[in-house]
């Protein structure tokens, strides 16, 4: 059970975020759901890199080789992803602000009516 549980949690978070995106009535809420989807990818990546009874591959306070370490490659990927993801969220929020200015609403349904 423990062998796949973290991956299933990641999948659950992703699906929950998708559900929120699809049923959202407010674009700001949708952006929040998208950031939930992003966090699913962080959980998945770090779960792939984990090793039992290991510690972080940071050797400022332990002797190299004295303890097993987890995979640093996925951690590096996740780390940059977190910060870049935040700026992308900011970009999306800027789009939402612009939409609100142009159309006076942030409800996706009302927006598609406007277009049609």
């Amino acid at each position: 059970m423990m062998d796949v549980f973290p991956y299933l949690v990641a999948a659950w978070i992703f699906l929950a975020g998708c559900y929120g995106l699809a049923t959202s009535r407010n674009l700001i809420h949708a952006v929040g759901c998208l950031s939930v989807c992003q966090s699913a990818t962080y959980v998945l990546l770090l779960a792939v890199g984990y090793r039992d009874d290991a510690t972080a591959p940071v050797f400022s306070d332990i002797e190299p080789g004295s303890r097993p370490v987890v995979d640093p490659v996925v951690q590096a990927l996740t780390l940059t992803d977190v910060v870049v993801g935040a700026t992308v969220t900011a970009l999306l929020l800027a789009l939402v602000v612009q939409i609100a200015k142009r159309h006076g609403t942030v409800d996706p349904d009302e927006l598609s009516e406007l277009r049609g």
């Binding site: 699809a22 049923t23 792939v48 940071v58 400022s60 490659v73 870049v84 700026t87």
Partner: protein
Amino acid sequence: MNRRTRLWLVAVGGAGLAALLVAACLELPDFGGDRHPYGDRAVHESLARHTANTIASVNFDQRALDTLGEISILFAAVVGCVVLLRQTRDEHRARPRPADVARPVRRYALAVLPVALLTGLYVIAHGQLSPGGGFQGGVAAATALHLLYLGADYRTLERIRPVGLYEVGDALAVSAYLVTGLACLIGAGSFLANTLLPYGTFNTLSSGGTVPLLNAAVGMEVACAVVVLLARFLDQAVEIVEENGT
């Protein structure tokens, strides 16, 4: 397409996706397994280059080209925000009223601000030794700067934060990253190759060759980027008012 059919569509698609994801999860290597060939090689390389924090080594040395891609995305996102949130012709700036802040809160903000900035710098500077680095420290320092908005008021923040300067700083930091890469190309024969500078003593601030330089460049770029982003959002939310119905 009405709401009901769309919900059904989402349910069917979601169920399919869920089935595929679960099937994929069952095929993944077991959680906590002992087989990490890439990780082991990365740790070995990083120790060979005297970088104590393997993650910083992966980010700024072994996969430095990827990081260049990441900071370009960041840069592009910031440029996009600045363009989207600019002041349009039918808007004008209104002077925000100074906020009334309780004295303990104001004192706390002013006392913690230097501590927080220092912590941000510490996190950036020790990126190649202990957990931390340009990405985290940059965000921490930039967020700390906005304690001024929270604890004092918006005018004070504007006085010590010329946004133009931060925009220039952002661009300069990206160019610094590129210039370091080009210096490696000229001096060592390949772009961003970490063979130009001596590796230094293990576990000291100057260890790791070009890692500290790239780290500092990324720290500066992230800090400037976050300041510029927040400045645009604060402008929109606090200052810029649409002229309407007049």
